[in-house]
Symmetry: C2
Subunit: 568 residues, 2 copies
């Protein structure tokens, strides 16, 4: 492609609203432009990288036997009402009325449409399992669209849905998809982790998120430094083996702790370790009050609390509620002499001996507190957030934290949607059963942004070969110089015949402008036709390493092939 024929509006200035590298660079290098908040146009280069990611996804989907189709963005509200999501998806679901005032959702996802379709068309076990996918635009009205392609309101997504006769069949496809996703992100050159995740509002259970490691990620991943264990911090189980204290139980004692209301202040005042304190928090779990204990140096994970009670709603009690239920302010509450409400505790609390806790009187704490002697614990659960340095739950290595960008998600949906929308089939015995489903998403445009987050330097983007919009950037130092012009033109033709894709900067611009644009755009290899054109020499620069050398055109083919194969 000739630069003069396409649209690559590079910018020197960083766009005012861009906070992260991928947003800045994709705009500056002329890949995308904002059309509205969270809504982008993909310029020619942006469209090419998008298509490259899509092609990798297609190949891996085809390999696991998923079949491509295409569903519409306009989805009848009735289907969303059947699934219940018309009401509980919230303001993120964009809604539109047609000229006859019939309501439609703008596809934020396609569980409803595909479940209806497959339920209507597939009636027998003979046609199962079946896995379909599509690559298409999705709409989600994010409250605060930001970070360019990372959190947009209209974005390209690959979504796949599988339909099964049994959970075994679902498990089989889930594993295949898991491997396909790993292949896809590996082929995109990404450093990622498949992490155990919360199934959240989508329903279902058994779910993994594919996270690209990046400091700007919105999620925290807890991973082992010695195994493949990785989980979203929300979901990471804790290895609950604690050292039993080796000391005598002392008698319970009430003491004054004037003005000490935080675990930290109390620990300091008592000159005791934080780990000896019992943090006591009052929660409202589905309208019931529950006092929840953790060690002073641990934090309660509300997702785990919710799961422990199989509750639909968990929230912290208000200051007024705490006073009413426990008779003291938040900084002075504790589990001793409580019998009107449940007291539950994280496993770590059980190993505290002669600890301390609030006394349910303002400015007073108990010391020498022993769980199960001084207060009753209704149940011990895994309730706390995992911490860096904790042993890995799989017994191998210790936990480290990293930030991650979610680029993919695989779900075992079970039969939630099939039940609600009505997707059944006749089994081998001629009996009606409900289908079991899986769903599998990849944020395609978001993956692009994640790639740029991992592949850039101070000069611009450094594309992995598989994603780069073109293999080669061909530059002419001075197109007015006949030798240079002719060699450039002939190389442009020849390299394309050799199946390299080439962006040819044929503009009448200063070399400095061309070099800067070339670094910004970030193709794997740059070829510069300059002063040695007459001798048949061009300069070759490898974007990723900065390696730079002159090479005779007779050796170009072989060298380029080697270079492009070695890069990612």
């Amino acid at each position: 492609m000739r630069h003069s024929q396409t649209l690559i509006p590079t910018l020197k200035e960083v766009p005012a609203d861009a906070e992260i590298a991928s947003h800045k660079l994709l705009v500056r290098a002329g890949y995308i432009r904002q059309t509205a908040a969270g809504v982008y146009s993909f310029l020619p280069l942006g469209n090419r990288v998008l298509k490259h990611v899509e092609e990798i996804i297609r190949e891996e989907m085809d390999r696991v036997g998923a079949v491509e189709m295409l569903m519409p963005a306009l989805q009848p509200a009735d289907l969303w009402k059947q699934s219940g999501r018309w009401y509980n998806f919230g303001a993120e679901l964009m809604r539109v009325n047609d000229r006859h005032e019939r309501q439609f959702a703008l596809g934020a996802t396609h569980e409803e449409v595909i479940t209806k379709l497959i339920g209507d068309e597939v009636k027998s076990y003979k046609r199962l399992p079946l896995t379909v996918y599509q690559i298409q635009s999705k709409f989600r009205d994010e409250k605060r669209p930001r970070f360019g392609l990372l959190r947009g309101r209209e974005f390209t997504m690959k979504d796949a849905y599988s339909f099964h006769q049994s959970t075994e069949s679902l498990d089989d496809m889930y594993d295949k998809m898991f491997r396909a996703y790993s292949n896809i992100f590996r082929r995109c050159g990404l450093d990622f982790r498949a992490v155990i995740a919360d199934s959240g509002a989508m329903g279902g259970k058994d779910t993994h998120e594919f996270m690209v490691l990046s400091e700007i990620g919105e999620d925290t991943i807890a991973y082992s430094d010695h195994s493949s264990f990785a989980a979203n911090i929300e979901m990471a189980p804790v290895n609950n083996e604690y050292l039993q204290p080796n000391e005598e139980a002392k008698p319970l004692e009430l003491i004054d702790t004037p003005g000490r209301y935080t675990m930290h202040d109390v620990a300091q005042y008592l000159d005791q370790p934080l780990a000896n304190g019992m943090k006591s928090l009052l929660f409202k779990v589905d309208e019931e009050f529950v006092l929840v204990l953790s060690r002073g140096d641990h934090d309660i994970n509300e997702v785990k609390l919710k799961n422990a009670y199989q509750a639909t709603n968990v929230e912290m009690a208000t200051e007024a509620e705490i006073n009413e239920v426990l008779g003291a302010n938040a900084g002075s509450v504790g589990p001793v002499h409580i019998d009107q409400i449940d007291v539950i505790a994280d496993h770590a609390v059980r190993s505290i001996m002669n600890g301390y806790c609030g006394a349910n009187q303002d400015d007073k704490h108990f010391i020498n507190v022993c769980p199960d002697r001084d207060f009753k614990v209704n149940a011990y659960y895994d309730l706390r957030f995992i911490q860096e340095g904790d042993p890995s739950p799989d017994g191998q290595g210790t936990i480290q934290f990293a930030r991650g960008i979610e680029v993919g998600h695989v779900f075992k949906l079970g039969n939630i949607y099939a039940d609600k929308i009505g997707a059944g089939f006749l089994n081998e015995q001629g009996k009606q059963e409900t289908m079991t489903m899986g769903c599998y998403g990849i944020g395609v445009s978001r993956t692009l942004a994640a790639i740029v987050e991992q592949f850039h330097d101070e000069d611009g983007i450094v594309w992995p070969k598989a994603i780069a919009p073109y293999d080669l950037h061909l530059l002419t130092m001075n197109p007015k110089h006949q030798d240079q012009f002719e060699l450039s033109e002939s190389l442009y033709q020849q390299l394309q015949q050799k199946r390299f894709s080439v962006l040819y900067d044929d503009r009448k611009e200063r070399p400095g402008v061309k070099f800067a644009d070339s670094d910004l755009i970030g193709l794997p290899v740059r070829l510069t036709v300059g002063k040695r054109a007459q001798e048949g020499y061009v300069e070759c620069k490898v974007r990723a390493t900065g390696e730079q050398f002159d090479i005779h055109i007779s050796e170009l083919d072989e060298k380029l092939t080697a270079l492009l194969e070695s890069s990612h």
Copy 2:
């Protein structure tokens, strides 16, 4: 692709709402399913044919130097207000509010978005001309969605936009696009005409529609039987050379024509040819009344009338207005003694000698009327619809009529949008100028439907090779028969290695079901593995011709290559 692995829900019954062949067959053969009125899901086969049409379009767009990009469906209302189309596009434009009550249009077309984008990014003549295109979903809330993919509310479209420094440059790209479109529809196997069209609500002038000839088409095309001339009947100019009558003018005479109010009744009553009558119609042209004359056997074309006056609005006067302005009922009006309003006439009227017309008195007509002697004509124009049998306007052959389905449209927009949205550039002299634009659309899903309209028989679809979802349909008569099963499986692998795409019907169904489905689905060549499997013979059937023969597998490769090359 194995039939058992994909989704091809064929139907024996014709869907109740399907009126035309493409709608019936695409549903029956399992290519598409309706998700809502005018909104379709493309099942795996449907998606494949769609992608094949898209690939042809991409190749031809790339060839003329158009560059692919991708714009969003969500478009800020402000842009549409700037162009004025927020108000005059009507109910066809779907509108949606975001969570902050900001208004968006769901892209029905992308002139506004692209003009804004190019206006912002291209500032110099050095970057012009520039032609971009995209293939993407469009939304138009049709009043009566029907005919399956022919008139949908969400559909795939290719839209291209070109930006120029001059009209000469636009003319050049327009010609290239015209040829590219011809190539595209030819490669799709279609019998089509490029017809002169009305630019309608899109603005601009100089426009051609690409029409696929089909009886179910909604447009009438007037074309020459001896040249490439073709025009939408709305736009076809008339060759205005008429024979001058060879008779003496007689004196004007007023006669009674009791109860004769139509041209036909009057002609019969007077025993004169229709062509001797002067049909007189009162129009309101931008609020001015105008009496418009044509020959009795001709019909007034309101588009031509509108263009003659360069009017924005033309409508027939009401019965009350006719009475008020002319003093008689519609069936008795005429041009004699009219001076209070304009009288204009089609060229054919000038050649009438001793004709007849209404007398502006109920139940009375004049006979022996001679234009320009008995009444004043303010101007003669080309005002009538062309008719079958008329000489072709290009002087070659005579006019025939055909019905057509519009699949593509090329427009010279001029600078309408560039003016309104503000897309300017600095010319060679450093002076600010407005860009000149062209736009070029293809209804991709509609093209699919048009192909099926031209390529089907009573048993199903008969795909042209370039569009067919697969090249070959491989059937096993009896998969339980070991020889047949093994040969089928090995052929399935081998044929794919030879680069044929294969749909393999591996279902345990009766041969009759498989044959019927195969005809319905319509792949170019069917291979049946049956009783002669052990000898290495399969049956080969060419879908288009019905030709059927046994062939040894050793000769298959060569024969299939020849067959597939010869088909379309």
